[in-house]
Symmetry: C2
Subunit: 555 residues, 2 copies
């Protein structure tokens, strides 16, 4: 058995180690275009920020160890130029010697990764204008930073763009972030991304959303000039292009392997391509969403590593049975830290469900990450999306401080298990004051969602309320917070009756409601829930504003 693996990072390295564990006698050739195999690409922004101080820490498994421990024929600076599937050979360029040779395989695993997308604007190739994919890119950026860069412009407000904006600000640069869309973090719904943008702004990062870079020029006097469509411009000493990645599908395309509509290589649950002896893994393949079934390229480290295991297992002849591990699809679980905030997602976003016309409901809560009476409780916003018919969880997003990652992971597991919002109600999670609450945020989201499905708790989302106000069709609005809270800011046109006085003043509420349903809100939705229950039982139609005034301020 001779296994050839193209690409020595994440998926490729995992596949190689797995293959060796399963077969001591196999010949395993690991071909990597760059000088480094098995490096930690997710660590690059933290290395540039100075949080990871030693470059060598990013070399997860040094070449020597791969060779000695796993007996891999690991060849860096070896670029695969083409595949000859008829002959079962790959054509390799030895980048050090400038020679070319052919390497036979019995099984082939492609792990070429994804390349940073370029904006396609004049000047994108200038020195000082960078993408960030590997250690060499990081070296170039580091050199520019050390040469005294003071102003940075980051194109793209996705995960990498935000990590780089934080990193550069952390190093003391003035940072401008330009994003074409109307929000940062397009993977997240707008109200979840909003607090992240606010955090960036509060740290002094200039955020320009809905703006398009049209040209990058080198000024004679030193700085780079970045021009935008609306005529606005910024000087920068360094520009980072982080507008996304595209699957490296050239080899696959050249060899006639099937590609998906996304441009990713098509694979089955064993990560086999359209050729039975060729597998593909990682950022270059498209996989189905476990929630929607929609195929997409998911460029994430966790899936890449697991796909590498799956491909190697199958390539090494593991029987096609239930015990065999197979790739079940991607959830798109992703997380980002931006200064003091954490934001993330698992499963489908509301934007994605809308695009696919998938029926869904949402529940949003704003709980503390642990018992409020224990010092240090940090706030979070947790949103779950679920099927209106069955309550099955379709996605979850969260933003806040400590404990956001925990709730997303719990909900990721629930989605994987096909669980429902009724299951969230009954989840039995760790409770001691430093860790959680007797009613965990996950339970709270379940209570609200299940209450909605049971009809106990009709609601209106902040987005829907905003649409009605924008359309000049405001519903009657009742603010059930205290007069002091009401005075600090409220939805325009709302009448204030504190929840504790609502029963005495029910006649006022009834006359306020008039014909249409009354929209009720408090700060986060809890008192609004009780108020809604009181109103409904007094025969007054009412909808609770989901997530309360807190959600409103983000709509």
């Amino acid at each position: 058995m001779k296994l050839v693996i193209v690409g020595g990072v994440a998926g490729g390295a995992s596949a190689a180690a797995r293959a060796r564990r399963l077969d001591e006698k196999a010949e395993i050739v690991l071909l990597e275009r760059g000088p480094d195999v098995s490096f930690a690409n997710c660590g690059l922004p933290y290395y540039l920020a100075g949080e990871i101080t030693e470059r060598s820490k990013l070399l997860v498994t040094p070449l020597e160890r791969l060779r000695k421990r796993y007996r891999l024929d690991a060849r860096p600076l070896s670029e695969v130029a083409s595949l000859d599937l008829a002959a079962k050979e790959v054509v390799v360029r030895d980048l050090a010697r400038g020679t070319e040779y052919r390497e036979r395989f019995d099984k082939l695993i492609l792990s070429p990764g994804a390349a940073p997308r370029l904006p396609g604007v004049p000047g994108q190739e200038l020195p000082g204008v960078h993408t960030l994919r590997n250690l060499q890119d990081a070296d170039h950026i580091m050199a520019r930073l050390k040469a005294g860069a003071r102003r940075a412009l980051v194109m793209g407000g996705g995960f990498i763009g935000l990590e780089m904006a934080e990193c550069l600000k952390h190093r003391g640069l003035a940072v401008t972030l330009v994003e074409r869309n109307t929000q940062v973090l397009m993977a997240l719904d707008p109200e979840i991304a909003r607090p992240v943008a606010d955090e960036l702004a509060s740290q002094g990062v200039e955020i320009l959303t809905g703006r398009k870079v049209t040209a990058i020029r080198q000024r004679d006097d030193g700085p780079i000039l970045v021009e935008m469509e609306d005529g606005d411009r910024r000087d920068a000493d360094i520009v980072i292009m982080g507008i996304g990645v595209a699957p490296e599908n050239d080899l696959a395309r050249g060899a006639g392997l099937a590609l998906g509509a996304s441009g990713g290589i098509r694979v089955d649950a064993h990560m086999r391509t359209s050729h039975p002896d060729v597998y593909a893994v990682g950022d270059a393949v498209e996989t189905p969403s476990v929630v929607t079934g929609n195929h997409a390229v998911v460029a994430l480290g966790g899936p890449a590593n697991r796909q590498g295991r799956v491909a190697a297992s199958h390539a090494m002849g593991r029987a096609d049975n239930l015990l065999d591990n197979r790739y079940r699809g991607s959830q798109g679980t992703a997380i980002v830290r931006v200064f003091g905030k954490t934001a993330g997602i698992t499963g489908a976003s509301e934007r994605m469900l809308r695009r696919l016309n998938t029926p869904h409901l949402t529940a949003t809560v704003h709980p503390a990450h642990h018992a409020g009476y224990y010092p240090g409780a940090e706030g979070m916003t947790l949103k779950v999306l679920f099927d209106p018919a069955t309550g099955r969880l379709l996605g979850a997003q969260a933003v806040g401080g400590a404990g956001v990652d925990k709730r997303l992971d719990v909900l990721a597991m629930a989605i994987q298990g096909g669980m429902t919002v009724y299951d969230l109600e009954e989840a039995e999670l760790c409770y001691a004051p430093p860790y959680g609450s007797a009613k965990d945020p996950v339970n709270m989201a379940g209570f609200v969602a299940a209450g909605l499905l049971r009809g106990d708790h009709p609601q209106i989302t902040a987005a829907d309320l905003k649409r009605r106000l924008d359309a000049g069709d405001p519903p009657p609005l009742l603010d059930v917070r205290t007069p002091a809270e009401h005075a600090r800011g409220t939805v325009p046109g709302a009448v204030n009756i504190e929840v504790d006085a609502l029963r005495e003043r029910i006649a006022e509420a009834r006359s306020l409601a008039g014909g249409g349903p009354l929209v009720v809100y408090c700060q986060v939705g809890m008192r609004g829930y009780l108020a809604t229950r009181i109103l409904l039982q007094h025969g007054i139609e009412a909808r609770n504003l989901s997530g309360g005034y807190t959600s409103w301020t983000r709509a």
Copy 2:
């Protein structure tokens, strides 16, 4: 509808709020023996430690709010003396006035809680010898501490005992902890509890396990003298008895309601007792384990709160349908912080599975809580228990620093969903360097467990290895760590062949193995896994020591 609730903490308070949300017109009477309703009993140790500085923070929902917001007829200092189920009345003692009266009910919810067990030794009633159940107990302890207590003795090494040991040490007292069993935290398996005991010892708490207190005396000269069975004795200015709790079942027993073998009140999935109009919730009831089906009293805040909701929903006439929430059983998810360590459990322990003769396998890993290349990674030990036939997860335990609570919660969700170790392999959890790894500890536990089930990776547990050594029947032992690691400490009798040299020295390994299987180990099990694979494929029977030398040192 008139609902009477006995007990105003956790389950009782949750039931009252839920009942009001469902029914505005119901008369709801909340009877609480103590002066406080809805207080945070889980916060008491942190209040005593001074972490929670204001006593008022422990009053989760003040009496006035319960009355105003929820229109509850909330009556503190109202002890229910007996139940008259034939008349559907409770007999109430007004503790303030010393009077007694009867209160009629349509539905009754019992939430009496559990009382601290007493050791049954002379002197347990002395001043300065305390239990900790409510704010009044905390007040007494606080008074004693403020009066200048310098030496404390804590009886019982369970969750409360350890929290109190930490609390008292935190306040500067010399602390001795006495536990009858051979380990602290009997809810956990010994190797998971061990690092907690080590942490206590390293913080200067004296731990006496396998020791029994036989008498407590007041010395004439001031301190309390605690005597142990073996003649050992300690002076203390304060003694805390934290040896567990017993369900308060007197009312139920007196009224002829069915009790379980555990002494807890018997209830169905709607929390109904043997009387159709009487419900019981919280620490006084027994519930089935979702894993083993075994009935037990589970004295935890999360279940109590959810049970209160379930009981109130049913009592308020919620239809008995699929959307109706019901209590599905307890997982026993519990966590404790002891100085810098966190330890916890969800599902069944190995001790419990052994006692019930439930077939099970275990997998133990010792990963870092996030990417090792990102600064601040803290170690943890994660153990999963699973069904040998199906791989279904039966339980999980963890101990370590940051991130322990997250993995336990993820695994709690997996157990609730009936998921398997194959599912853990494929879990897609949040990965960015500050939060996790591309292969999360949960994935790692899945890899090891599934590898075991697939036969890739035979193992021996540290406990089994120890039994063989203790029995004078040592297997041949191979330490595949580096010579430097080997020199720092190893299992007696082991031969050292570094994994990277194993292939060259395979003949040595073969002759070492002799007839029986070779037991292989490294530091945490990863290199041992590869070595096991190498040996097996060279026809040498081998078992990897689960969790490696790290697990061995705890056995």
